[in-house]
Symmetry: C2
C-alpha cells in the first residue's frame, strides 16, 4: 500500500532514513475514489492532499460554454489536489476528478504543513515536488503560448505519450486546448 | 539598495531575525541591466537568480514564425530567472530580458542552493516563493485554457492592471496570447 510513497520519498530526499519514511507514511490514509468521483469541486476549499497509488486524477475548468478544459493529468506516484486552493485556502476555480477508479493516500492540509514545517526530510520532499511542479507548469505554459496544435500534439507524444495512449480523446483534446476533430486529424496523420 | 529584499524576506518568513536578513542580503550583488538586455538566452543554462529592486523583467519564447510569446512579467520585489533551466540545469527554452533599465540583486545558483539547503529562514522564503509561483502559473494556465480573449483581458485588468498600463501593446498582447489588433479593440471597448 505504501511502497510507491516510500519510493517517491526516497527519490526526492535521497538521505531519508527508513524510520522517517515510516513516520511520514503514517500520516497518509488509504482511500478509494471510484471512476468520475469529484474530490474537489469548484468553489470548495481544498483541505486534502492526495498521493496517487494507482489510477489517474485530473484537474479541469468548466468554460462558459460548458466545455471542459483540463489543466493537469496525474498518474500514479505523484501528489494531486486543487493546488491553488490548497495553498491559498481560497475557493477552488478548478475541479479535481478521478479519471478512473483510483487508489489514493490522503493527508489533511494541517498534517501536510505540520510535516512540511517540522520534518526536515518532508521539507525536502515538498520543496522538490514544488520545483518539479514549477518546471511542469512552465512547460504547459510554453506549449499553450508558443506552439500551434500540431507542435503541441507532437510535444505531448514526446513528453507524456501515456496521456494520448491511455485516455479518451475528449480528455486529451481538452488538455491540449484543441477540438476533438483536430485531435483525430493529428492522430490520423501521425500513424 | 537592500530594503526591498529585506521587506520581501520578512514578508515570506515572518520570524526571521535581523542578523539573518543581513546574512542573506550579503549573498546578493547589485547590478544594472540596461533596457532590452538579455540576462538568459534560449539554449543557455541559467546560473543566476535575480531579485528585482527596480524595473521590470520578462521571460518570452520566440515562435517558429518569429513572433514573441511572453510567459511572465515581473516588477520590483520578486525573483526572476529562467526558472526551468535554473532548477533543472538544462538549456533554457525561453529568454529573460530587461523590459526597461533595471536595478537587480543577483545571486549565483550555488549560493542560492547553499542558503536554501542550510539556512532555515531562506528555506521558508524559497518554499513560499515556489508556492506563490505555483499559484501564479496555475492562474496563467487557467486564463489560457479556459478564457476567450475578452475574459482574459478583463481578468488581467483585475489581477495585474499595471501590466496593461505600463507596458507597450506588443508585450501585453504577447502575454495574453492575442494579436495587437485584438488588444487595441479590447482597450477601445473598455474605455
Amino acid at each position: 500500500m505504501y511502497n510507491k510513497l516510500r519510493a517517491f520519498s526516497k527519490n526526492l530526499a535521497k538521505d531519508i532514513p527508513e524510520e522517517e519514511i515510516e513516520l511520514i507514511c503514517s500520516y497518509f490514509k488509504p482511500m478509494t475514489a471510484l471512476k468520475e468521483k469529484i474530490l474537489v469541486s469548484e468553489n470548495e476549499i481544498a483541505s486534502q492532499m492526495y498521493f496517487i497509488n494507482e489510477g489517474c486524477l485530473r484537474a479541469y475548468y468548466i468554460q462558459e460554454n460548458g466545455n471542459e478544459a483540463t489543466r493537469y493529468i496525474s498518474f500514479e506516484g505523484g501528489f494531486a489536489t486543487s493546488f491553488s486552493s490548497f495553498i491559498s485556502q481560497r475557493p477552488a476555480t478548478d475541479n479535481l476528478q478521478a479519471v478512473k477508479k483510483s487508489q489514493l493516500l490522503r493527508i489533511s492540509r494541517a498534517d501536510f504543513y505540520h510535516l512540511a514545517d517540522n520534518n526536515i526530510y518532508f521539507q525536502k520532499i515538498y520543496r522538490r515536488a514544488l520545483e518539479i511542479g514549477m518546471v511542469h507548469n512552465i512547460w504547459r505554459l510554453e506549449t499553450l503560448l508558443s506552439m500551434d496544435a500540431k507542435s503541441r500534439y507532437e510535444d505531448l507524444i514526446k513528453a507524456q505519450s501515456h496521456i494520448v495512449q491511455k485516455l479518451p480523446n475528449k480528455i486529451v483534446a481538452s488538455y491540449l486546448g484543441i477540438s476533438q476533430e483536430t485531435l483525430s486529424r493529428l492522430k490520423g496523420k501521425s500513424k
